[in-house]
Each structure stands twice: as C-alpha cells, then as structure tokens.
Assembly symmetry: C2
C-alpha cells in the first residue's frame, strides 16, 4: 500500500520495501519511532553507522486536507542520547506522497573522508549525486542552488555548515512552497546525523504522479471541509492566523513564564516591544515582501507563518516564531524585533536550532561573554556560530555543553535539549511535560499551558500533562500540524472520519489512542535501553534551589511524579 525507500549511504544500494497494509495507521511520529526502535540499536553512537534517519509523512499527506503534510524525521539524537522525532512543515511530505513514499530511510554511513552526496528521488529513479558544490555554504545559498538545479517546486532538505562538522544543535531545513529551505526539523541534532552519513541534501522531485486514493471520496471531501470550518471557527487558530505564534509573548508575560535573562526570570520589562502587535505593526508598516500571514504548506487554513521584512521591505527572515522570539529575544533581554529576526536569519543560515542556540547564548551572557540586552553582542555571537569559530562551535553544541564549557550551572535543558519558551517554575504543567518527554524538553509534546488552572502548582499536573501528551501525539501520528488540535480538542471524530473514509475502515478513538500510547511506550523503552535513567529527566539543580523571582516558585516536581508522567 505504501513504500519505504531505503538508501544505504555506505554502499549506495537503494531498495524499495513495500509497507505492510496492516500498518496503514502508522505515519509521522508513530512510524518513525517504531522504525527507530526496531532498527537502531539503542546504545549506538548517534553519529555512527548503526544509526538511521527516517523521514516519514503522515497518513493524510497529499490528500489536500488542511495542515496534514508535515514531515516527521526520526533517529537517535546526538543531543539527548535518546530517541528523537522532529517534525517540520513545508512541501517535502507532499512530494514524498506524490512519489508513493511514506518513508525514506538513510542507513549506514560511509567510512573516512567520503564525498558529500545528494539523494535525488524521482519518478524514474533514485540516485546519489555529487553534493560537493554545496559544502560549507549557508542554508540560504544551498537552497538557491538546489532550486536552480532541481526546480523550485522540488521538495528539498538540506543542512547547514554547523551540521557538516557534526555539531549537536543542528537541524534539517525543508523547503517551503516557494522553494526556500526554511522549515526546520530543528531539534535534537538530526542535521548532524544526516551529515554523519555524508548526505548534504535530499531532493524529492516534483514529477511524482501518485494520487491519494479514497475508499469514500465524497465522505473524505466533506470531512476535509469540516476541518477547515472547525479551524476557522476556533478562536485560538484564528488568533494564530492574524498574529501567528507571536501571540504567546503577551500570554506568557502575563503568566510570568516568559523566559528572561537565561531563564532566571519570567517577566521582561518592555516585552511589548517584541510582542505580536509590535511585529504586526512593523510588518504592515514596512510592507514590501513582509507578510503577517503565510502558509508553510499547502493547503493550510491557519497560515500562522509570516515574512518579516527589513527596513527596506526586503525579506529578512521567514518565519519569525514565538519560540525563537523568546529564546533569542526575551531570554537574552533583547527588545528589538529586527535584531531577533537577524539572529533567526543567521541561525537558519548556519543550520542550528534557534531554541538550543538561543539558550546557549543566554548561558554565554550569564557567563559574562556579552551583556544581557546587547543586540550587537548577540549578533556577533551568532556570527561566530555561522563562521564556525571555537566559540561558535560551543554555542552550536547546544546549551548543555555550552553551560559546561562556559562554567554556568543554570543550564536550561532536560536531557540536553533546551527548554522551550515557557519558564518551568511558573508553569508546572509544562514542566511536567518537559520532564516526561523522551525527546528532551519539548513544548509540543504535551502543551498544557492554556489549560492550567493554577500554573504554579504541581497538583494534578501528572494527569494534565499525560492528557496533552496524548493529544499532541495524535497530531504527530497523523502528520498533522499541532495547531489543528485546538479545533478538535478531545474529540478525534472529525480526524478519524478522514482516515476511515480514506482507507475504508472504522477506526475508533480508543483504537487510535492505543497506537499513540504504544508509541509513547516504545519511545521510553528506547531511552531506557540507551542508558537514560530517572536522573536524566531533571532540570539543572538551580531550578530546584532558586525561586523564580516573579512567581516565587521553585521547581518542586519529584522524580517519582515525573516518572508517573512517563508511565504508559
């Protein structure tokens, strides 16, 4: 029914494996995590030949359902030492589905100083072609070169120069509908894993002719319309449409969980200079290429993305999202959206995760290398990253290593992955999620923030986090954008209707959740087998010892409580 395309990067052998039709329900993270668990020895070196990289579409890719073409990339993470799935928007998922692929697997690794290769997947054949001309270049230039060579409509993925030298906080950039590799599977160092296999880019040509098939085409169309309707009615998703994720700045500031000054504080004086309205006004005022609304994939009824223009109206960075505005903005006490957009741009060009490197810059500021609030200094640090200097290498290794090398104890991470944009002492629900995620600290893994009655209290947060872990995992399983969850909340019926009408089955909510929960189990088992223990699922000791000034809260979640939240 579907296929896995397996590419041995050591021998060049390429083969297609037919997918068991019993497993049609597996896509996105449910598929990638199962494949990692089955095929990657948990104790292996993430940058060695035993690791694999799986690129998986969801179960509704290329069905012209809103927001359903996300790509899940899975493997063992060099950043955390555990299992990793990082997903991104863009058009690669669509192109894969058009080639009849639900998964591409990069296997093995060439020895020694092998040459860089590009994987090119087309209707006629898959081949490994010379990629040397991309080496050392930034992601923007790589992106242009790939567009020129393979067409702007090809689905491309590439890595930055930081990933080429195997640094740990590096992602994989996927092309958006305009042929720009700007949609990042940024977390967990999968860029370095791709580099370790000497694959510098992957291209899925725009010549695929496989069309999605439907057992009940009319039913599917009706269901698909229903999703759009739900998205357009929902106040959260409509807010995303107008302001994008930047709307979170004010929400987090009000809740006192806006990461500030290397996660020492939860409130930034002057945060209104970098909030959603400020960004909206700048984009509208400058005009030009600026856009307050932008789709990362087609079709999408939310369009939360944006294009941030410079003073001359030229594209400076697209998108600029809340997580980056916090980690590269408030967390560094920067109150200048132009500076944040510039940091974001350089990070994208260098190929690093804006969260982990933003957190690392926060650590560097705490170490005194640059003052908090110093925009020029922050940009200089990012240029060190782009230029691969020793300091840049430290920062591109993520905040855990940066904290060790720079002598800072207050290191905002769990499992070595930087804490996203919600200061955990002020939101015990998000804290519980960070401590429960097999991927390292991750907000999409179980987003409790909008549903916490008393955010500062840990009461009931095991159950709340687990509830949202399931809700988030459902979206990942389907290859759906996480924001679709707001429109369906606890009721999966509209989404399951799509699966059922497409495949002619009768999957119930419980059956689907069994698959989701089994995925969580598999992921935690992998981490246990990889040697991660309860002691790894912790914040830095400083979070437990020092109160966050604005809430007066310390971290008080115990090992026993977080262990319960990881129990499935």
């Amino acid at each position: 029914m579907f296929s896995i395309l397996r590419i041995n990067t050591a021998t060049g052998e390429i083969r297609t494996e037919e997918f068991d039709s019993q497993e049609f329900l597996l896509g996105g993270r449910t598929l990638s995590s199962r494949l990692v668990s089955r095929e990657v020895p948990a104790e292996c070196d993430p940058l060695g030949r035993k690791n694999k990289l799986f690129f998986c579409t969801g179960v509704l890719a290329e069905t012209i359902t809103s927001s359903s073409d996300r790509l899940s990339i899975g493997g063992k993470s060099p950043l955390t030492g555990g299992i990793k799935e990082s997903n991104a928007g863009g058009i690669v998922g669509t192109r894969m589905a058009q080639q009849g692929l639900r998964c591409i697997a990069l296997e093995d690794a060439p020895k020694g100083d092998a040459a860089w290769k590009i994987v090119v997947i087309g209707k006629e054949k898959t081949e490994l072609v010379d990629g040397g001309f991309l080496a050392g270049k930034g992601v923007y230039e790589k992106s242009e070169l790939l567009s020129e060579k393979f067409g702007a409509k090809a689905g491309c993925m590439t890595i930055g120069p930081t990933a080429e030298i195997l640094l740990h906080a590096t992602g994989i950039a996927c092309s958006d509908p305009h042929g720009v590799c700007s949609r990042y599977a940024g977390r967990g160092g999968l860029g370095a894993v791709m580099a370790s296999k000497k694959i510098i880019a992957m291209v899925v040509l725009n010549d695929g002719e496989v069309k999605a098939e439907f057992k009940d085409s009319d039913g599917f169309k009706a269901g698909s319309k229903k999703i759009v309707q739900l998205l357009k009615e929902n106040p959260v998703s409509t807010q995303f449409t107008k302001y994008g994720t930047a709307a979170m700045v004010d929400i987090c500031q009000a809740l006192k969980v806006l990461p500030t000054k290397n996660f020492r504080h939860g409130v930034l004086e002057g945060a209104e200079k970098i909030n959603a309205q400020a960004m909206y006004d700048i984009i509208k005022e400058r005009g030009g290429e600026g856009k307050t609304q932008h789709a990362c994939m087609n079709p999408c009824a939310i369009q939360c993305s944006n294009v941030y223009p410079d003073k001359n109206g030229k594209l400076l960075c697209s998108p600029v999202e809340y997580e980056t505005m916090a980690l590269m903005g408030s967390n560094l006490c920067l109150k200048d959206l132009d500076a944040i957009a510039m940091l974001n741009r350089i990070a994208n060009d260098a190929g690093v995760d804006t969260l982990d490197v933003g957190a690392a810059i926060g650590v560097a500021m705490e170490a005194g290398l640059v003052e908090f609030g110093d925009t020029e200094g922050a940009v200089k640090l990012m240029e060190e990253v782009r230029n691969l200097t020793p300091l840049g290498r430290i920062l591109a290794s993520g905040c855990r290593i940066a904290a060790k090398v720079l002598g800072v104890r207050h290191a905002p991470h769990v499992l070595g992955q930087a804490i996203p944009a919600y200061e955990p002492r002020g939101t015990k629900g998000m804290a519980m999620t960070y401590l429960s995620s097999p991927m390292g600290a991750d907000h999409t893994f179980g987003f409790t923030l909008r549903d916490e009655e008393v955010p500062t209290s840990k009461e009931g947060k095991v159950a709340l986090s687990k509830k949202f872990q399931v809700i988030g995992s459902r979206m990942d399983a389907m290859g759906m954008c996480n924001f679709v969850r707001y429109s369906v909340r606890n009721d999966m019926t509209p989404l399951l209707d799509l699966i059922n009408s497409r495949y002619g089955v009768m999957i119930g909510a419980e059956e689907f959740d069994d698959v989701v929960k089994e995925t969580l189990k598999i992921e935690h088992q992998f981490n246990t087998d990889a040697g991660l223990t309860a002691q790894d699922y912790r914040f830095s000791e400083t979070f437990y010892e020092e109160a966050q000034p604005e809430t007066g809260e310390v971290m008080d979640i115990t090992d026993e409580e977080s262990a319960l939240a990881r129990q499935w």
Copy 2:
C-alpha cells in the same frame, strides 16, 4: 582516635568531628569513598552545594614509612558524573597527620559571587582568610605566594585558573617537599569542585605536633625497614628509581600499546626519541637543576620522580611522567622531550589534568586544528588553555566534550575520563580495567599490563582485572603509593604487619580485603544511584569497529563481560 575537620564554605562554620575508633582501618580511598557515599546525594550537581570534597590521609601517614603519605581526594566528579577519588603525593598528607587529621571535608557552597577564600589549618585554629590575591594566577605563581605567606614547609593545595572558571578537566595541586604545588590529584575535575566552593587554596601549616603513636614501636620499625628492603630488591621499583615511570615508553611500544595519533595507533615510529634513556641522557647532560631521581614525599625508597631541566639547566617541569609523555607526546606524534615538558609545565600552571587535556589535544589534531607532530602548534593549543580562550575552554573540558564540540567520533575515554597511556585494543586487561573503574578510565585502578600472557586476548581478563583491582585498591586504602604493590604483590603480610603493630590489632589479609571489596561495591552503587548504566561503561563505538593497525585488534569486550568485572 582520629578527626575529621569539617568546613562549611557557605556559613564559615568549622567543627571537628571525632572519628569512630572502630574505623581506624579506613583511610585514603576507603575513607573518601565511604564519606562520599554517605554524605553526597548521588544525583546532585557536582558543582552545587550538595557535593562535598574530602581530603583523606592513609592509615600510616606520618609514620616515616616509605611512600605511605599519599592524599586521597574524593567527591562527585563533574567530569564523569560518578564517584571520584584522585590521589597525589606531596607533603599535605604528612602535615594533616601532624595536625591530628585524617580527613578535611569541604561542605556546602556560598551563593552567587562570593569572594575567594583560603582555608588555613594550624595548631591553634582553622580559619578562612581572603584568597582574592591568588585569583586568575597560574599555579606556579600561586604556589610561590602561598610559600611566602605560609612558609615553604606548609602543606598547600591550590587550583589553576581553568578550575576557577569551573572547567571539568581540572585538578588540585599539592605541594612537594620543596614547597612547590606540583603533585596533582589531577583526574576527574576535583579542581572545579573546590572552585565551586570558592576555596582557591588550602594550607595545612607546619606547626602540627601530633606524633604517630605505635602500640608496638619496635615491631613497626622492623616492619618499616622490611618495606624499604623489599622495594630496593624489587626489579620493577628499582627500575622506577633509575628511570622513573618513563621506562614504560619502551615497554608499551614493544607491546604496541603506546597511544599514538589520538589513540588510532599503538606504535610511534621514533619513540626512542622520547623514551626513558633519552630523558635520562638529557637530564644528565644538561645537569643544573635537573634530577633523574627525586622524591615526591618523604620518606620514599623509590623516588621515581624527576626534575626535567631546560637547555640552560633550569627547572622546566617536575615531574615529567610516563602518562603525560604518552598523552602529550606519542599520542600527538611529538618526538621532542623539551616540547612535552613545556606542555606539561603549561598544563600544571593552568591547573588541568595532563591526561584529559592531552587526549583533548589529540582530538583537536584529528579535527585538523593543528597537524599531528606539530610541536609549536601543540604548545599554542596549551597556551589557549592557559589563556582561557574559547578553544582553551573546550580543551580544558576534557576529551569527551572536546570530541563533541570538535566533531570527532574517536574519543578516547570511558565515563568521560580520558584513557591513560595504554591503547586498550592492544591490552584487553587494561581495557577491562578501564571499563570496570567507577572513576572513569584509570590505569592505577587495576594495572594488569605486566601480567598479561596474551594482551590482545580478552580470555581470562575479567578475573585478571579484578585481581589487580583489589591489589590497587589495597594501596589506595592505605594511602600507599601504587608502586609499593610491586614489592609486596599478592602478599599483604608486610603491610598488614605495619597496621597491626601500629594499632595493636590482628588484621588478617582476608579482613582487609573485605574492606577493600566493600569499597568497590560502595563506589559502584554510588554510580548506579547517580544514573550511570552499562551503556556508560563503554569505549567510543570506533574502538569496536576499527582495528588498531599494529595489532589488528578491535575492542571485543562485551557489556556482559565488563559488568562481571564490576561485580563485587
């Protein structure tokens, strides 16, 4: 009977605790590891207030027995994340015993930007005095300032500028009989632990008046003479007397286990330029302050230490020992003893472990930052360490972190501690010991090399390593220099005679070994509680996949086998 002096570094509170006389057998590592296990929460941040630092003498300190005054320093290691005991020669152990102390404990840690303090321990009182005048200075200068202020005969300990900024591969330097802090408890990052408590130096004044007491004085004297006689008769210790540890260069080259080119090889072409004879000849030829024979403590019948002079006969570095000659010499393909001595000197001044930083420089050379064999380039890298540049910080973080930040997979360490000077694929006995040590890769933990019939085979190596783990641990338990083991081998009678005549007891070999084996158990339990698992007790994957060219051997010890060697 004995006392522990407890110093709270946060409150300044100082108190003396009487030692249970039932525990007279505990000294050195048996004491430090028990105290760490009892008093340090295994999961704590090694650089936080919950870690403690214990300085313990052996059971025969100040008894004028040869080589019996070593100092064991214990705590949780920031380098490995597990338990640590690192021991050193010098005169601190003697001075402690003269003050009636078997242990000094540094507890808690001051908050924020507290001022540097010096702990001064004297007959009249113990106090914390201002240490700001030492901050940022090299260990040689600190050493001179301490001598000036407290007398050249005081027992001093200090840390280097790398430790002051909490880097992980930093040690604690202890003063030798000439008042120079050159005897390093170098391994495991205990320098950073001391710095985290804002203690920049510790001084045990030379005004102690406590004399060792003996239940059977004549018996003790006779036993003490017997040890000297055994040492003078033993061919291994007499070889150490003439050539020092440098004698190992030829032995390891012949066995093809001389670390070469970042542990890729076991043979260095031209190793005779840096062997014991070459060093002996240079020292003799240059004369001046040079010495082929030198005692790190008094009394010592071995005197394996040396003074390496520069071309003008002035002291360049003392001592220059085999482990450093390998890690900062052969491993970097340097065939120049002057360069090695210079690297050693800068490392001592910077306050870093020559093994871990030597290994980190090997990694940097593999990453292409400097060519293998480039003496000037190597010295420049060490100057980066001394000058605390970003690259220097990377190197002073040890080879595990350096390998991650510099993108090198072949990282020679176990548990994050660099492999000592015996390439493990060529000596499966030493490899088994590295994989069994709760302290990270460590040669003194169970030195099998001289007793391996077929070094390249893993057959019988579990038992062999365990045998030598016990032998090595006996020495650590007594505060004895490890080299005394050659003279007594399996027969502990001469050493137990000393304990028995001193304390008027009848400790048998089995009873003593029970204490030693219990120590090993306690240490492994601590690491388990700290979250270390079987997956941590491994070499880098490359050691298992790539044969060492000269022996054709890969690492073939399984997790199950090494687990057996850690089972007590």
